[in-house]
């Protein structure tokens, strides 16, 4: 694995922080009625997508679930336009027609943002199929929530990916709850990463609160897939600090459980490492904090001032 440079540490910290600040602001705007519908926050899970980001090639493809804001930020997309999609405005990535759960950026090879649990798994497998069909060396990273791991089409996709040796990396973001149902109440057999074994797909479990562990696993798995060996599964153990969506008070878990995870906060881990390695001073970190807060504040400002889509937009983009 390529040794992490000083700039990499700063990049990781900045991205994770940006996701956190973005989600906090989104929650605020939701509370103000500026964001409607379903809104699923990524707070607590930042190390997963940022860890994967560190090993990604810009021509690789990504497809994920409806908990996608952080994924878009990690893909380098503009927080202003992401937030504008959340507020349903014309500057949003889907011009206000997709909303929080359905965001895409074709030019950045980001294929959503899918609202149906499990649906993105065959789709990501098909994107990987295209990479192979076109003779490209790229891979498709397909994120799966723990809840989707009990959904039939996931296993159909695993079978096809293994059968046809497709370059797809499946990343299970196990945040312990599928909506309000804990994994142990939903899945017979808790080692989700082993669920590809029957198809011959290797899998491993990774600490998703620690970005360095994620990078290591993602690097190894990414190489395996890119070399044409077929699919690979990483199960990332993570935790969402907030409820399933904004309307979920998360009464199904204890405050102690949440506090316990906060002890291993992914952003604090990176920060401690930066200070320990003397990559940046406290002041420099403070500056990043301040700048990030400012950037997200501007994004919120932008998203609430962007116009609503024109009425005529109702009938566009149905057919090409």
């Amino acid at each position: 694995m390529k040794k992490l440079q000083k700039a990499d540490y700063i990049k990781m910290y900045s991205f994770m922080l940006k996701i956190r600040r973005f989600e906090e602001r989104a929650a605020q705007l939701y509370g103000m009625g500026k964001i409607g519908g379903f809104c699923h926050l990524y707070i607590g899970q930042e190390a997963v997508v940022v860890g994967i980001l560190m090993t990604i090639d810009k021509n690789d493809s990504v497809v994920t679930t409806y908990r996608d804001h952080g994924h878009m930020i990690a893909r380098g997309l503009d927080p202003k336009r992401i937030m504008a999609e959340l507020t349903g405005r014309e500057d949003g990535y889907s011009a206000g027609k997709g909303g929080s759960m359905h965001m895409f950026s074709k030019e950045n090879n980001f294929y959503g943002g899918h609202g149906i649990v499990g649906a993105q798994v065959p789709i990501g497998t098909g994107i990987a199929f295209t990479h192979k069909y076109n003779g490209e060396k790229n891979i498709c990273r397909t994120y799966i929530g723990d809840g989707a791991m009990n959904n039939g089409q996931v296993f159909e996709a695993f079978n096809l990916a293994a059968l046809w040796k497709l370059p797809v990396l499946y990343i299970i973001e196990n945040n312990k709850y599928g909506m309000g149902t804990s994994v142990d109440r939903a899945a017979a057999g808790l080692d989700l990463y082993k669920r590809g074994e029957a198809f011959g797909i290797p899998g491993e479990k990774v600490d998703g609160m620690n970005v360095f562990s994620v990078i290591e696993a993602a690097d190894k798995a990414g190489k395996y897939v890119r070399e044409g060996n077929g699919p690979y599964i990483i199960e990332v153990q993570t935790y969402r600090y907030r409820g399933h969506s904004m309307s979920d008070p998360a009464k199904y878990r204890t405050k102690e459980e949440l506090d316990n995870y906060k002890q291993t906060d992914p952003i604090e881990i990176v920060k401690a490492e930066i200070l320990k390695k003397k990559i940046a001073t406290n002041d420099e970190i403070e500056k990043i904090n301040k700048d990030t807060l400012e950037e997200i504040k501007n994004a919120a400002e932008f998203a609430t001032n962007s116009p609503f889509p024109k009425d005529s937009e109702l009938y566009t983009d149905v057919y090409l």
Partner: protein, 459 residues
């Protein structure tokens, strides 16, 4: 006692077959379970086993003889000592002669049928590129896929049994041999998974043709068709289109009962983002499939198993296409309009002939060809001329294509109507298995005649 071995029906829709090879000869002793012959149907060549025991007394057809009707005696087995029984059997030559005569009669009837029912519509006759040779619907579909695959290597086909088996209904015959296993892919029986995979491939820029062995199985995958394929262009603000064709047989075959005989035309036609096509002849199958494959949107292409064997002239120009969203006036008339699609076009044409003969009614028949977007203009213009409308389709009545047409016509041509619109649909029940009930379930020519009489106030 001697027993006749009859030409077996080897598929639900088989009416005749070819005797490709005898595996027994006169004088052989056969036991139940012995292979006796290879029979070629329109879909496959299969071996046939004996169910009775005895000595082969006679083979009534030679190897290579074609178009032997189902249930025709092809061999006689029995006890060679029972001479009386043997005597009773006609000599081989005679049987063949009889068969020839019968065949002539059949051909005659067929020609007559062709004249009146399968006669190309005026527009097709005007086509100067019309082939002299007639081909089947399945060939027309196959040829069009092959032509488009030659033009664009982003076009590939996947589905159950499309490659090595050559297609469950032989529509993909020869494609594997020409294009290889990278572009003609056999999938596991895994509709939800491989449909999602194909949709993802289309998002990423390929142009999949996905064959459902029948559209009944598309129910396993309908979430990917509607929630992913149809909606993503809209949800992505116009960024990600899905150029895919979902094709396969739709509607009733023959006696395959409730789970394998359903018409999904109105289900899919309800969905913005999808285009829905239902061809009725080899000619329009060719032109429409080309439009479907080259369209940048998801297209549902509803074929019909019974029509796969239908023969007709086609336009062999590799760029010939029929635009999506355009109906065809199959027959012009002034007294009433029938709007129909797919297999019901044949029954509607039969009904139109009888309506002319028996009631002197000139029926205009509109073959929709595309169900979504619907060619409302052609329908409305016709109704404004004839003032009477019936819709004929195989789907269930509730919320059918006819229901939508009735709504459009009452809204936009209310003052032109001289009678209420009547819909002819299948019965509002699951498809029964029994032959007699199946016939009752499906719209028949008499049902169309009765509807026509009703809108024309003929008692």
């Amino acid at each position: 006692m001697s027993t006749e071995i009859l030409m077996p029906a080897l598929s639900p829709t088989m009416t005749e077959g070819n005797l490709s090879k005898w595996l027994i000869k006169k004088g052989d002793t056969v036991k139940a379970g012995d292979l006796i012959a290879e029979i070629e149907t329109d879909k496959a060549t299969m071996e046939v086993e004996a169910v009775d025991e005895g000595v082969v007394l006679d083979l009534l057809f030679k190897e290579g003889e074609a178009n032997i009707p189902v249930n025709k005696a092809i061999a006689i087995i029995g006890d060679p000592n029972e001479k009386v029984e043997v005597k009773k059997q006609a000599p081989v030559e005679k049987v063949i002669e009889e068969k020839k005569i019968e065949k002539n009669i059949e051909t005659k009837i067929e020609i007559k049928k062709d004249d009146i029912i399968n006669k190309p519509s005026p527009k097709i006759e005007e086509d100067t590129n019309l082939s002299s040779e007639e081909i089947t619907m399945r060939q027309a579909l196959r040829d069009t896929m092959a032509e488009e695959m030659r033009k664009d290597n982003k076009v590939f086909i996947l589905g159950e049994e499309v490659a090595e088996y050559q297609g469950a209904y032989k529509v993909t015959q020869g494609l594997l041999q020409e294009f290889g296993k990278e572009r003609v892919l056999d999938t596991p029986i895994s509709e939800h998974g491989f449909t999602g995979l194909a949709v993802g491939a289309a998002f990423k820029g390929l142009r999949p043709i996905l064959e459902f062995m029948t559209f009944n199985f598309s129910m396993q995958a309908i979430d990917q068709i509607i929630n992913s394929a149809a909606k993503t262009l809209y949800m992505s603000g116009g960024q990600i289109n899905c150029p895919i064709v979902f094709r396969g047989p739709n509607g009733a075959a023959a006696q395959v009962a409730a789970q394998h005989s359903q018409d999904f035309s109105s289900w899919y036609s309800q969905v913005p983002g999808l285009k829905v096509i239902a061809p009725s002849t080899p000619y329009n199958a060719k032109g429409l499939l080309r439009s479907a494959i080259t369209d940048p949107n998801p297209v549902i292409f509803l074929e019909n198993e019974i029509l796969y064997g239908l023969k007709g002239a086609v336009n062999n120009d590799v760029n010939f296409s029929i635009p999506i969203g355009k109906a065809n006036i199959e027959r012009e008339g002034k007294d009433l309009t029938i709007v129909t699609y797919s297999i019901m076009l044949q029954k509607s044409k039969e009904a139109a002939l009888r309506l002319k003969e028996e009631f002197n009614l000139d029926t205009e028949i509109i073959d929709l060809q595309t169900l979504r977007p619907l060619d409302t203009e052609t329908i409305l213009n016709s109704v404004k001329k004839t003032n009477r409308l019936i819709t004929v389709e195989e789907s269930w009545p509730f919320g059918s294509i006819g229901s939508e047409i009735a709504n459009i016509v009452q809204r936009d041509a209310f003052d032109y109507l001289d009678s209420p619109v009547i819909k002819v649909n299948s019965a509002d029940v699951p498809m029964p298995y029994s032959l007699s009930l199946e016939k009752l379930y499906l719209p028949q020519v008499d049902d169309i005649i009765n509807a026509a009489k009703k809108v024309s106030y003929i008692n």
